[in-house]
Structure formats: structure tokens, C-alpha cells
Symmetry: C2
């Protein structure tokens, strides 16, 4: 009994030296979740490892170099033709200033306790609610 | 600043028609976690999607056909040369009786509230503790 096909997307909670997290505001012209505050990251290309894909997406979307640290959690989104599973990592900012691509129109460094108040895509709300309540390591 | 390389492994909580979960006891001769109760699943081959990899591993390890449903959570294991991230799904048994490979020497269908009492590999203990406390959908 084959179910709906799955797709894997990788996202990252990037922390700066002050412990704040980077969110990216999706362009008003985005096909999905226009104007919402998104996590950096995206789809994995065929034959690309998830960590390479994530570093590439972060570089394309923000120009930043980061180091991936730990796994942070998951999210899920049921689209008409595919079920997207999000693997969410934690990363640390290494160097650079944010330079946005046309995909996003704004960025913000957000305190952990302010994360749940941001207007996020619906599929990330359960994750962010749980994540923001976790004790900081 | 490149960190330790990552590897992605996929695991699954397979439920039977009575809501019990399948665990597999690793062979006494296993290089790692010998004799521990493991979740079905394993490594993703190059250019293999995570869901195909998981169905293949389940078939190889148990002979079972399953349907993948939702994402269940994550786990992490720091090995000397690599950091393994586990993406854990939920699945439903379709058909078949368990036929073990040489990798495992026993299997058990376990009630949700009995999961935390099983002797699991250390990296799955936080996930199982949290998972067993979740309300059943």
C-alpha cells in the first residue's frame, strides 16, 4: 500500500554570538507562505548529503558561513502531492553579514523567547513552541 | 570551520494492528550495541531517498511491508569520526510475519508504555522517553 511520496527538507536554527536566532522573511511574491518568517534551509539535491545541502542553502540565502552542531527536531507539511519532512539542525554563525537573495525581503536576529511570537509558516509552529521552551545548553 | 562530518540514518516505529511497536534485539556479535533492543532501519545509500532507504532496510531486517505515516522525532550519536543524526518516522504494518536477518536474534512487539523499560542503545533513550509519553493520536 504505497502512501503519498515523501520529500526531505533541511532547516537550521542559526545562533549568533549573542544566542539570537536568524529568521528570514519570505518575499511577498513567494508561491507559498508569502511574508512569513522562515527558517534558513531548503531542499536536498539528488545525491547531495543533508549537511552539504544545508550549508549550500544557507550560503545561497544569506551569504553566511555556519557550523552545524546538533539536531534540533522535526516538522512535517502535507502538500497535495507530497508529504514534506523537515529535519531541523542547530548551527553557529562563523562569519559574515547577511546578504539576502530574492527569495527573502527581510531578516531578523530573534531571542529564543521571542521565537513563538513570530509569524511562522504553520508547519514550524509546534517545533518552535517546543524548542523555545527547552533549557539552553 | 568545518566540524565533524555528519551521517544520516533513518529509523521507524512500526505499529501493528494492536498499536504495539516492533523492536529488534541486536546480535550478540554486533560491533556496536550488541544485545540492545534497536529500532528497525539503517543507513541511506548514496542517491537513495530516505523513505526508500527505510522501506528497504525494514524489508531486509524483518521481511515486513510497511507504510510510512509521519515523522516521529530525532536522535543523535557522536562517534569518533562522525556524528550520526537519526530521523525517526512512524509506520504501520501492512503484511507479513517477522523474518529476522543475521543482524538480529530476537524481536518483540512492545506496548507504548513499556518502551522506556527496554534496554535500548543509549542514543534512543531521550527520544523513546518523550515518544512514549505523547498522547496516542
Amino acid at each position: 500500500m504505497p502512501g503519498k511520496p515523501f520529500a526531505l527538507s533541511v532547516k537550521v536554527m542559526i545562533q549568533d554570538e549573542n544566542g539570537r536566532y536568524l529568521l528570514l522573511k519570505r518575499s511577498a511574491s513567494s508561491k507559498a507562505n508569502a511574508g512569513k518568517w522562515d527558517l534558513p534551509g531548503g531542499k536536498i539535491e539528488p545525491s547531495e548529503s543533508f549537511d552539504k545541502a544545508l550549508l549550500r542553502e544557507v550560503s545561497e540565502e544569506t551569504g553566511l558561513a555556519i557550523t552545524l552542531k546538533h539536531v534540533a527536531g522535526t516538522a512535517e507539511s502535507e502538500l497535495p502531492a507530497v508529504k514534506v519532512i523537515y529535519l531541523i539542525l542547530e548551527g553557529r554563525l562563523d562569519t559574515g553579514n547577511v546578504i539576502l537573495s530574492s527569495e527573502h525581503e527581510e531578516f531578523a536576529w530573534v531571542e529564543r523567547n521571542e521565537l513563538p511570537g513570530m509569524d511562522l509558516p504553520e508547519q514550524f509552529i509546534p517545533f518552535i513552541r517546543q524548542y523555545s521552551q527547552k533549557a539552553v545548553p
